[in-house]
C-alpha cells in the first residue's frame, strides 16, 4: 500500500469515528472510545508521515470523488509529509489529552463527532492535490472547527465568536477560490499538476500571492485578518483550542507554502516585501495584544498570531531570496519558517493543554483570579513553564533554535540586490527581535500571574492537579520541546527534502557536524549548539549546587515574606496581569491601542477611593471591521425599506427596469 493510501485510510478511520460519534456521542463510554480511536488513527498517520518524510519520494492516489471530470487527487510529497507530521502529532497529543480532559465535558455529543472530523479534514487539506479537494477539505476543516467553537453554545460570546470565525473563514476560502481560479485559467485546470506546469505572468503571480495572503492569511491569523482568532480559539474546549492554534494555523501556512512556493511560478521580489511587512506587523501587534490580555486562553491565542507573524517573516525571506536566486539563503529562511511551524505546534499545544488544565481546575480563564497554582498543580505548572520558556525563545529550547535560524537568514540580507529588500529585511529583523522580547515579557506575565504568587480566588486556592492522560500529553510535548531544542540538526535535515523541492536548495547536512551543532550556511561561519548549551547549563548549575551545598551552607528556614517589612494580607494586592503589563502599555499602548489612562482622584478629605481607568482600542477593529459592519448595516437598513413598499411602488420598479432595458436597447450600437 502506498504511503498516501495509508494516510487516506487513517483519514477514513477518523471520519468513520466521527460518524460513529454522532449517534453514540452522549454515552459515557463514547469519550474514551472516540478519543482512543482518534489517537490510534493519528499515531498511525504520524508514523506513516514520518517514514515517508525520511524515505522521500512522492506517492499519489486518485479517488473518483470531488470534481467529476478530475477526480479527487491526493499526493504525499515531502512538504505534505512534513505538515502531516505536524498535524498528526498535534492531533495525537490532543487526543491523548482529550482522553482525560474530555471526561469533564458537559456536552460531549457536541464535541465528539466533530473532533475526529476536524482531524481528518486537516489531514485531507495537506494531502489534497487538486484545487477542488483542497478547498473542500479546507472549508470542511473550518466547518468542523466552527462546530467545536460553538460546542458550548449557550454562552452568547461563543456563538458570536463562531459567527465571526466562520464568516472570516468563508472570506478566506473565497479569496483562495479566486486564486485557484486564476491559477487554473479559463479552461479549468484544477489539478495541482496542471497548475505547476503552467506559466503565470507576473501580474497573475502577484494577484495570486495577494489572494493567498488574504485567504491563507485570514486562516492563519495574519494582521489585519486576525480578529476572529482570539475570539474563536479560546471559545473551543481546550484540546480543540490547542488543535486550532497549534495545528490548524499551520495548515493555513501549508496552504500558503503549497501555492506560493510550489504551484506559482516565481513572484517578483517586491511581493516578498508585502509578506515581510505583514509578518513583522503581525508578530509585534499579536504579542502586544497578548500582553494586554487577562484571559489566559486569549493571551495564548494572540501569541499564536505573533508566531504566525514570525513564520511569515521566514516565508517572506524565503520568497525574497528565491526571487534573487540565492537558493541556499532561501533554504535557510524556509527551514527556519518550517522549523518554527513545528515548534509552535509543540509549545502552543502544550500551553493550551496547560490552560485547559487550569480552566478545568479553577473554572476560570481570568488570570487575575488565579495565582499560586504552582503549589496546587506542580506537574502542570512545570510543563507549562517549559512551554513558556520555549515560546519565549529561550535557549536551549526549540523556540530559540528556529528564531536563531530566522535571524541567521535575516543576516544574509546584504547580499540581496534589491535596495528595498536590503533596507526592509533588517528593519523586519528588528521587529522580530522586538516581538521575541515582548513574547518573553508576555509569558513571564502568563506564568507569573497564573502559577506564581498567592491565589487570588477561592477557586485558585482549591485547585487540584489534572488527570494522568492530560499530564502525559503535556509532558510528552514538553519533552519534545526540549529535544527539538537541543537536537535541531535532525529537524533541519528532515526538512531538507522540502526545501530542496520548493526552493531548489537545502541547508548543509547537519547530522555530520561535529558535536551536533547546527550551521546555517557553512561550517566556520555562524553556528549554534543547543545540546552543549544545555549540558553546560546543567553541569554548571549542578556544579554550583553541589559545591555550595557541600562546602557552604544548606540551612534553610521558612518564614513570612519580607516585602520590605510589609506584606498586605490580601492576595489582591499582588501585581495582577493588568498591572504587570502597565509599563509596557505605557510604552507601546498609546501608539498600538490608543490607550488612555484616566485617574479619578477625589479631593483631600473625600473618602472615596481613587480610580484608575484605562481605555484601549483595537485599532484594526475600529479602522477596518467596524466600518465594514457599519456599512453593511447601513446598506441593509437602507435597502430594507424596499420590503415595505406599496404594490404601486413595486410596479414602478418593474416599470423602471423595463424602461431602463429598453433604453439600453435603444442606444445599443
Amino acid at each position: 500500500m502506498t504511503p498516501a493510501a495509508t494516510s487516506l485510510l487513517c483519514v477514513a478511520a477518523l471520519l468513520a469515528t466521527a460518524l460513529v460519534a454522532v449517534p453514540f456521542g452522549r454515552r459515557a463510554r463514547a469519550t474514551p472510545a472516540i478519543y482512543g480511536a482518534s489517537l490510534a488513527a493519528t499515531v498511525v498517520a504520524l508514523a506513516g508521515a514520518l517514514l515517508h518524510l525520511v524515505a522521500g519520494g512522492t506517492s499519489e492516489v486518485v479517488l473518483p470523488l470531488g470534481l467529476p471530470w478530475l477526480g479527487a487527487h491526493f499526493r504525499l510529497d515531502a512538504l505534505a509529509a512534513f505538515f502531516l507530521v505536524v498535524v498528526n502529532f498535534g492531533g495525537a497529543a490532543a487526543s491523548l489529552y482529550g482522553l482525560g480532559y474530555g471526561r469533564h465535558e458537559e456536552a460531549p455529543h457536541r464535541v465528539l463527532p466533530f473532533f475526529p472530523a476536524f482531524l481528518g479534514a486537516m489531514n485531507l487539506v495537506v494531502l489534497a492535490d487538486d484545487a477542488f479537494s483542497f478547498l473542500l477539505c479546507w472549508e470542511f476543516m473550518s466547518l468542523a472547527s466552527w462546530a467545536l467553537v460553538i460546542a458550548h453554545h449557550r454562552a452568547t460570546d461563543n456563538t458570536r465568536a463562531g459567527y465571526i470565525y466562520l464568516v472570516m473563514a468563508s472570506f478566506g476560502t473565497l479569496a483562495l477560490l479566486l486564486a485557484f481560479g486564476l491559477l487554473a485559467g479559463p479552461q479549468g485546470g484544477y489539478g495541482f499538476a496542471a497548475m505547476r506546469a503552467a506559466e503565470h505572468p507576473p501580474l497573475v503571480a502577484a494577484l495570486v500571492l495577494g489572494l493567498l495572503i488574504l485567504g491563507a492569511g485570514s486562516k492563519a491569523g495574519l494582521v489585519p485578518l486576525h480578529v476572529w482568532l482570539p475570539l474563536a480559539h479560546p471559545a473551543a474546549p481546550s484540546h480543540v483550542s490547542a488543535l486550532m492554534s497549534g495545528v490548524m494555523t499551520k495548515v493555513a501556512i501549508y496552504g500558503f507554502v503549497r501555492v506560493v512556493f510550489d504551484l506559482l511560478s516565481e513572484p517578483s521580489w517586491w511581493s516578498s516585501m508585502v509578506v515581510l511587512a505583514l509578518g513583522g506587523a503581525t508578530a509585534v501587534l499579536g504579542i502586544l495584544h497578548a500582553l494586554m490580555e487577562r484571559d489566559l486562553k486569549r493571551l495564548l491565542a494572540y501569541s499564536t498570531i505573533e508566531n504566525i507573524g514570525v513564520v511569515f517573516v521566514g516565508l517572506g525571506l524565503a520568497l525574497a531570496f528565491r526571487a534573487e536566486g540565492m537558493g541556499w539563503a532561501a533554504a535557510l529562511a524556509l527551514t527556519a519558517a518550517l522549523f518554527h511551524v513545528l515548534n509552535h505546534s509543540l509549545f502552543k499545544s502544550l500551553l493550551f493543554f496547560g490552560a485547559g488544565a487550569v480552566l478545568g481546575a479553577t473554572a476560570t480563564r481570568d488570570m487575575d483570579r488565579l495565582g499560586g497554582l504552582i503549589h496546587r498543580m506542580p506537574r502542570t505548572s512545570f510543563a507549562f513553564l517549559v512551554g513558556c520558556a520555549a515560546i519565549s525563545a529561550l535557549p536551549p529550547l526549540n523556540g530559540f533554535a528556529s528564531e536563531w535560524l530566522a535571524f541567521q537568514a535575516i543576516l544574509q540580507s546584504p547580499q540581496l540586490s534589491a535596495w528595498g529588500l536590503k533596507i526592509m529585511v533588517p528593519a523586519v529583523g528588528g521587529l522580530l527581535a522586538l516581538s521575541a522580547a515582548l513574547a518573553a515579557a508576555c509569558f513571564v506575565k502568563a506564568f507569573g500571574v497564573t502559577f506564581l504568587g498567592r491565589p487570588r480566588s477561592d477557586a485558585a486556592a482549591a485547585a487540584h492537579e489534572v488527570d494522568r492522560f492530560s499530564q502525559a500529553a503535556m509532558f510528552i510535548l514538553a519533552g519534545l520541546c526540549l529535544a527539538a531544542g537541543i537536537l535541531p540538526g535532525f529537524v533541519i535535515d528532515a526538512v531538507a527534502p522540502v526545501t530542496q523541492a520548493l526552493v531548489g536548495d537545502r541547508m548543509p547536512r547537519q547530522t555530520g557536524v561535529e558535536w551536533l551543532s547546527i550551521v546555517p550556511i557553512a561550517e566556520g561561519r555562524s553556528s549554534y549548539n543547543g545540546l552543549l548549551v544545555f549540558l553546560f547549563i546543567t553541569i554548571s548549575a549542578s556544579l554550583a549546587v553541589v559545591v555550595i551545598h557541600r562546602f557552604a551552607s544548606r540551612a534553610l528556614r521558612r518564614g513570612p515574606a519580607w516585602g520590605c517589612g510589609f506584606v498586605e494580607p490580601s492576595p489582591m494586592t499582588q501585581y495582577s496581569g493588568v498591572s504587570f503589563a502597565q509599563p509596557i502599555r505605557r510604552v507601546f499602548g498609546t501608539l498600538a491601542f490608543r490607550a488612555r489612562e484616566h485617574v479619578e482622584m477625589p479631593p483631600p478629605g473625600d473618602m472615596r477611593p481613587a480610580r484608575l481607568t484605562v481605555q484601549m482600542h483595537d485599532l484594526v477593529w475600529d479602522a477596518l471591521y467596524a466600518p465594514i459592519a457599519g456599512a453593511i448595516g447601513f446598506a441593509a437598513d437602507r435597502l430594507n425599506t424596499l420590503q415595505f413598499l406599496t404594490i404601486r411602488r413595486y410596479l414602478s420598479l418593474v416599470f423602471l427596469a423595463l424602461v431602463g432595458l429598453l433604453l439600453v436597447l435603444a442606444i445599443w450600437p
Partner: protein
C-alpha cells in the same frame, strides 16, 4: 390597396395610442371609465379590421370580446363598484398631469426608436403596429404606476392588455390569439372581483406602513 389597408390599420393603432394619452390625461373617475370604453372600442375596431384583412374569422371573436366585455361589461361593473364602495371620484395622481404626459411622450418616442431598429425589410405593417402596441403597453404601465386609485390602476392594466391584443392581432397568423384574449379577460375579471371582495377602496397601497409591518411579522 395595400396602402389603404395599411393606412386604416395605422389609423386604428394610432387612435389607440391617442386614447391612451386621453386616459393619462383624465382626472375624473367616471370620465376615465368612459374613455376606457372608447379605448376598448377602438381596439375592437382594429381587431375587426385585422380579421377582415387577414381573413381570419376567429379574430372576430377577439373583437367581440373586446367590445362586449371590455367596452361594456367592465366599465359598467367598475361604475357599480365605485358607487358601492363610495370611492373618491377624483383620480389621485402621484406626479402631476404635465410630467406624466411628458413621460408618456418619452415612452412613445422610446418605443418608436426601439422599433425603428427593426430592419425595414420586415413587414412594415407589423413594424408600425408593433411600435404603437409597445407605446400602448408602456403607457398602460405608466398609468399603473402613476395612479393611486385601484380603479384607475385596473384601467391602466387593461389598457396595457389592449396593447398586447393589438400586437397579437397585428402579428399575422399568430395562433392562440383568441385563447389569450379569453385568458386575459378572465384575469381581469379576477382582478375586478378581487378589488370588490377585498374592499380595496382607494388604492392598492395601504398608506399606513406601520400597519403593514405588523402584518408581515417584520420590524417588531
Amino acid at each position: 390597396m395595400d396602402g389603404l389597408i395599411f393606412d386604416i390599420a395605422h389609423l386604428f393603432a394610432g387612435g389607440l395610442v391617442l386614447v391612451s394619452f386621453m386616459l393619462l390625461y383624465q382626472d375624473r373617475l367616471y370620465a376615465l371609465l368612459n374613455i376606457f370604453a372608447l379605448h376598448a372600442f377602438v381596439l375592437a375596431l382594429s381587431v375587426a379590421w385585422q380579421a377582415l384583412v387577414q381573413a381570419a374569422p376567429h379574430l372576430y371573436v377577439t373583437a367581440a370580446i373586446a367590445l362586449g366585455f371590455k367596452a361594456i361589461v367592465i366599465p359598467v361593473a367598475l361604475h357599480r363598484i365605485i358607487q358601492r364602495l363610495g370611492i373618491h371620484r377624483q383620480v389621485e395622481t402621484v406626479v402631476g398631469m404635465g410630467p406624466t404626459m411628458l413621460a408618456g411622450m418619452g415612452l412613445v418616442a422610446l418605443s418608436m426608436v426601439v422599433m425603428l431598429r427593426v430592419t425595414p425589410e420586415a413587414d412594415p405593417l407589423a413594424r408600425e403596429d408593433l411600435a404603437f402596441a409597445l407605446s400602448v403597453v408602456l403607457l398602460g404601465l405608466l398609468m399603473m404606476v402613476t395612479r393611486r386609485n385601484a380603479v384607475s390602476q385596473v384601467i391602466g392594466f387593461m389598457s396595457l392588455e389592449n396593447g398586447l391584443i393589438l400586437a397579437a392581432t397585428g402579428a399575422k397568423g399568430m395562433p392562440l390569439v383568441v385563447e389569450i384574449s379569453v385568458a386575459f379577460s378572465v384575469l381581469i375579471a379576477f382582478i375586478v372581483i378581487g378589488i370588490f371582495l377585498f374592499r380595496i377602496r382607494e388604492r392598492f397601497d395601504t398608506v399606513d406602513i406601520g400597519a403593514l409591518d405588523d402584518f408581515r411579522g417584520e420590524r417588531k
